[in-house]
């Protein structure tokens, strides 16, 4: 029966795979299993078989696809530039329709609707803040419990950035819009605040448009394509007036930069979107921000997949960390996924935990007492698998702390 939705994978994209196998060793699920059906090439072969109407969208197909982390580590080594991430998102949209289940329906409600609703996010945020204060997070078991306990302490009252603006310190050079995100804006406000501090020092006025919503990445990855389109369209309007948008979560940034696949006007928003580490590195290069003196020791660098593989951003976080007085330490030459991968841990807790343990071991082996990660999902996963004593911070936070030290000195 092949495909049934308007979001079906495009045939040209599928045909671009020449089955060379050069992507295999970069794929975490292939690394764990040695199984072609858990590899990018194998998954593409399965998708092509369905596209040709030679295999049905059955349980086995669903399983092969769902086991994929959507980390996009298979994209950079691909000589043929197969847009794997895009193909897999479209397959998920087909699965949502062709393989309906209660779990899929509930996930769609949360990812496609819940995350787009500020009220729901606020309610959830307050719920977590209260649970943290009452010690209730200890009562939740499994991977959900581990993630909950790994959350930063949520401030009460909440301090969302949406709808706020900040004036520059010193001579104004321009305006930049902050992409606030969904959970980021409730649970990771300290990272937003750090970024705002840094940009103000560089002379930027920072605005966080009130009408922006969740980027829709989690919805898109889970096949809630209509919801993803709606959110994308919403954000295209919300950011229409500005010409620079900064994002401090790698997952959101990667998705925003793919908006061209999703809505009209998406490519324009994508073109003016920049990751926080890239913007700060640029400001450092231009001399708009200072290289800070001091020896703050070593920091392990964890590359979020959606920074390194999806956006090919590798050097900039290191650049920012060096400017903050740290010595970046490499932990993994392949940049294998930490297993967080959005909500992957809910579907494949064992695989997610195994990858988390491996990543934590790499961090521990580096000997550094701080690890820098530029994505909220990875941060939770790292903190969940690391022992106390190793701090997990966003690179921009580390730079901001060093900057404030210098400014107050």
């Amino acid at each position: 029966m092949s495909w049934v939705t308007d979001f079906a994978p495009e045939r040209d994209d599928l045909d671009s795979c020449v089955t060379c196998g050069l992507c295999l060793p970069f794929c975490p699920t292939f690394r764990l299993t040695g199984d072609e059906t858990a590899s990018p090439r194998g998954r593409l072969a399965a998708i092509l078989a369905v596209a040709r109407g030679e295999q049905p969208v059955d349980e086995r197909f669903d399983e092969m696809m769902s086991f994929c982390l959507q980390c996009r580590a298979c994209e950079p080594p691909c000589p043929s530039m197969v847009p794997y991430g895009k193909i897999q998102e479209r397959v998920r949209a087909e699965l949502l329709v062709q393989r309906p289940s209660l779990r899929r329906f509930l996930r769609r409600l949360v990812l496609g609707r819940g995350l787009a609703s500020p009220t729901m996010l606020r309610t959830a945020g307050i719920g977590v803040a209260v649970a943290q204060r009452l010690g209730l997070t200890r009562l939740v078991g499994g991977p959900t419990g581990r993630s909950l306990r790994a959350l930063r302490r949520v401030s009460l009252p909440l301090r969302p950035t949406r709808g706020r603006s900040w004036e520059p310190r010193g001579t104004p050079v321009g305006t930049v819009a902050l992409f606030s995100g969904c959970v980021m804006d409730v649970w990771f406000t300290p990272v937003h605040e750090a970024l705002v501090d840094v940009l103000r020092v560089a002379g930027y006025r920072v605005v966080a448009p009130a009408s922006q919503v969740c980027c829709g990445a989690l919805a898109a990855h889970d096949g809630a394509a209509f919801d993803a389109v709606r959110m994308a369209a919403h954000n295209v309007r919300a950011f229409a007036e500005v010409d620079l948008v900064v994002v401090d979560a790698a997952g959101c940034g990667a998705h925003l930069r793919d908006y061209g696949h999703w809505v009209d006007g998406g490519a324009e928003l994508a073109a003016k979107t920049v990751d926080a580490t890239v913007l700060v590195a640029r400001l450092l290069d231009d001399g708009a921000l200072p290289e800070l003196e001091g020896d703050r020791g070593e920091v392990a660098v964890q590359d979020p997949c959606h920074l390194r593989h999806a956006q090919r951003i590798v050097e900039e976080p290191r650049r920012v960390l060096r400017a903050a007085g740290y010595v970046p330490v490499e932990i993994d030459d392949l940049g294998l996924c930490c297993g967080a991968a959005g909500i992957y841990g809910l579907s494949y807790p064992d695989t997610s935990a195994e990858l988390g343990r491996r990543k934590a071991a790499q961090v521990r082996d580096s000997g550094a007492s701080v690890v820098a990660s530029a994505n909220p999902g990875c941060e939770l996963q790292l903190r969940g698998h690391l022992d106390v004593g190793i701090e997990v911070r966003h690179p921009i936070e580390l730079y901001r702390d060093a900057l404030l030290d210098e400014l107050t000195a």
Partner: protein, 471 residues
């Protein structure tokens, strides 16, 4: 009990697959052909492998070993419904003898991974096929893989001391030994390159090579293919043995440059990538000598890698060649023939002519040092008749190589693809002798049948013999 149940009783259900979609996904390697798969197994030990082979024997189906499936000749693609034995999970490095420079490794160990794991010892595994990031040691043994650095170091066969093998009747034997010259017949060279037709390799004793203290890498641009070829001939004639000597023609250089942006000269008609290795003094002298020879043949550009990063970039260009052309068309066909170096230019001209006549686009990349040509054809198999034209041209290209005194395959193996061309280089007697050797290992003909040797290689019909003697 049926085949799957039987296999599951040994391996458990997770390591046995027979769903149509799994069989479909495993039906192909990196080449162009697909074949029928009955079931797939992932053994983790030699004993498990042996059990799988015995179960397949009882079920009366053939066995096909598979590594990473990067083979280009269809070696891991069955010709009749077979049990596919996937070796990727046997990926342990068992023991490394740094003094003796050897290591026992599982066949599923990835080629590049082995050298990476050995980094701290200052040793590496020398054969470096362009697919080294993905292909397995078992697959390298199967195809006797080569690579740019095999010019000085020799192909896989020169780096294998012993193999542990599961034979067609499920016996586990060790061929070869830790010392270079075992007593009795040396069967290692028979196993290496046998493409899984003699048995399944379950452990390999590899020879390790010391990392050279210094390396020099040069990228040379030439105004004509002839000038580049003449440079190659003179370098070899001068007695120099470069660590690697690779050539690419203009279409290839452009495709690669578009992909990796390594700064290759896109205006040159041909580019040579030369590498010398050894002691710093020698490296400097040899690099200068190569530069001098190149300039005397009119080299238009000479670039020397300043550091490891630049060297890696230059090599990335070369090693991405196969994939880089994928940008222009969805399929590619990669040839692998060998011609005497002295007749390089002439054969190249003939190959360009064949491509033009069949109306197909051709790019050239090759191990110039040993005359191993890799003409690459990019095409679109979904267009009717296109694959046939490509295969017809392929046939002709192999023929001109052989007529010029060359051979069928430099390193990718014969497999399914070139099987029927074996008659071009071997007489009926030669083929019969090879078929007999194979029969000595596999009298039932169930170990990766239909590969390497064309049908009818044995001078009298095998079916009659196996049926008649009850074996």
């Amino acid at each position: 009990m049926d085949l799957v149940a039987e296999l599951e009783s040994v391996l458990g259900s997770e390591r046995v697959r027979a769903h149509p979609l799994d069989r479909r996904v495993f039906a192909k390697d990196a080449g162009v052909k697909t074949g029928p798969v009955a079931a797939i197994v992932f053994p983790e030990t030699a004993e498990e492998t042996a059990s799988c082979v015995r179960i397949a024997a009882e079920a009366g189906i053939p066995v096909v070993p598979r590594g990473a499936g990067t083979g280009l000749a269809g070696g891991a693609v069955p010709v009749e419904p077979a049990l596919l034995v996937v070796m990727t999970r046997m990926n342990r490095i068992f023991e490394v003898d740094e003094q003796g420079r050897t290591a026992w490794v599982g066949p599923g160990v990835i080629n590049l991974e082995l050298s990476k794991q050995l980094a701290s010892t200052g040793l590496h595994f020398a054969p470096d096929p362009s697919s080294q990031q993905s292909c397995t040691i078992g697959g390298n043994v199967g195809t006797n893989a080569g690579g740019p650095h095999c010019l000085a170091e020799g192909t896989t066969v020169a780096h294998i001391l012993a193999v542990e093998l599961v034979t067609v009747d499920g016996e586990i034997v060790v061929v070869g030994a830790e010392y270079p010259d075992p007593i009795g017949l040396d069967l290692r060279a028979v196993i290496v390159g046998s493409e899984g037709t003699l048995g399944i390799v379950t452990r390999v004793l590899v020879k390790l090579t010391e990392n050279p203290p210094a390396v020099g890498t040069l990228l040379l641009g030439f105004p004509t293919v002839d000038a580049a070829a003449a440079t190659v001939s003179e370098i070899i004639a001068s007695g120099l043995v470069p660590a690697a000597l690779e050539m690419m023609d203009r279409p290839m250089v452009r495709a690669v440059e578009n992909f990796v942006h390594a700064g290759y000269p896109t205006d040159a008609a041909a580019v040579l990538l030369a590498e010398v290795a050894g002691h710093p003094e020698g490296v400097r002298a040899e690099a200068e000598m190569i530069e001098r020879i190149a300039r005397s043949h009119g080299a238009t550009s000479v670039r020397t890698a300043a550091d490891d990063a630049e060297r890696a970039l230059l090599w990335k260009g070369r090693k991405s060649a196969f994939g880089a052309i994928a940008q222009s068309a969805p399929d590619y066909y990669l040839h692998d023939t060998v011609v005497p170096r002295t007749r390089l230019v002439e054969v190249l001209d003939a190959i360009y002519e064949i491509a033009a006549r069949h109306g197909i686009s051709l790019l050239n990349v090759f191990h110039a040092g040993d005359g191993n040509l890799h003409p690459l054809v990019s095409f679109d198999a979904s267009r009717p008749g296109e694959l046939d034209r490509v295969l017809a041209a392929a046939d002709e290209m192999v023929r001109v190589s052989v007529e010029a005194g060359g051979t069928l395959s430099g390193e990718h193996g014969i497999g399914l693809e070139k099987r029927d061309l074996m008659g071009l280089v071997f007489s009926a007697d030669d083929l019969d002798a090879q078929a007999r050797l194979r029969e000595a290992f596999d009298p039932t003909g169930r170990m990766n049948p239909g590969k390497v040797l064309p049908e009818g290689s044995r001078c009298f019909d095998r079916a009659a013999v196996s049926g008649g003697t009850g074996r």
